[in-house]
Symmetry: C2
Subunit: 151 residues, 2 copies
Amino acid sequence: MSGGELKLVEAEEPEEHDYLLQEQVGFILRKAHQRHVSIFAAHIGDLTPPQFAALAKLRDVGETSQNQLGTLIAMDAATVKGVIDRLKARGLVELSKHEVDKRRLLVNLTAEGRDAIERLIPLAREITRETLAPLSAKEIATFTKLLAKLA
Amino acid sequence: MSGGELKLVEAEEPEEHDYLLQEQVGFILRKAHQRHVSIFAAHIGDLTPPQFAALAKLRDVGETSQNQLGTLIAMDAATVKGVIDRLKARGLVELSKHEVDKRRLLVNLTAEGRDAIERLIPLAREITRETLAPLSAKEIATFTKLLAKLA
DNA sequence: TTGATATCATTTGCATACGAATGAATTTCC
DNA sequence: GGAAATTCATTCGTATGCAAATGATATCAA
C-alpha cells in the first residue's frame, strides 16, 4: 500500500517543516527595510532616514509641534523627541514655545536645515531609485501600490 | 496669455513641492514594517520578532554557531548576541563550545525552547495572515514575489 | 613553519522604536 | 465654573540594529 511507503519516506526526512521563516512577510519586510537603510547610508552618511524624514516633512508643512511632526512621519512621541534633539544639536532645526497653547513645542527648519534638505533631496531620489532597481517600471508601480495598502 | 495666468496660479501655491516623503519606498517600507511589528506584538506579547526568528531558525537547522545563526536570520554579530543572551536568560536556548573550533559558540534549543516555538508557530501563521489581510490572494502572491526581489 | 589573512565573538557607542509612567496644560461636558 | 478626560511633552526601561575596535583562534601561503 502506498500509505505504508509514504510513511517510510517521511521517516527518512524527519526534519521536514511546514513553517518557513524565509517565506513570512514579516521577515522579508525586515530584510527589505534593512537593505534600504543600507543604501540610504551609502548615499547620505551623516543623516539617518528618520532624521531625513523629519527635515523633509518640515520642508513640506513648515513649522509644527513636535507631536504633530511625529504623527506625520510615523514616530511616537518618545522617538521623535530624540530625533529632533539631535537635529537641534546640529543646528538644522530650531524650537520655540507655542504662544497660545503652552503645552506645544514648535519645530522649524533653520536656514542651514533648509539648505541641507534641498541639497539632500536629489540624493534621496537616487536612493529611492536604487532601492527599487531590482524591479521593472511596471513592477515598481504594482509594488508601491500594494505596499502602501499594507502601511 | 495663458502663460501669464499659469504663473499667477503658481504664485498662489508657493508650497508646491516635487518631493513627497509619503511616496518614497523607504518611508512606506518603514511604516509597513512598523505595522507588522505591532500585529506581531498583539499576538505574541512575550517575544519579539527577532527572538522568534532565532527560535524558528534553530528549529529548522538545529544546533549552529551564533554567527551562522545571525547570517541565517539577517542579523549582524553584535545584534544576534543580544538576542541570544536574552533567549538564554529565559532558558529557551542553551550555549556550548565547539569541540574543534574554539572560536565558535554553539546555540541550540532547550526542551522548553522547542515547546515554545512549536506552540508559537500557529500564532505566527495568523500574524502573517493578518499582516497581509489588506490584500487579495492574488495581490499577496504578487506582493510577496516583488518584496522578495527587494530583500 | 611562520607570517599574513580571515573568521568568530565580544564590547562600546550611537540611533531608532515603543510601552508605561508622569506632569503640565487644555478641552469637554455636566 | 469645575471635575473629568484629553493632549503634549518628557523620562525611564528594554530591545533591536549597526559601525568600529579588540582579542582569540584558524586558515592560507610563501
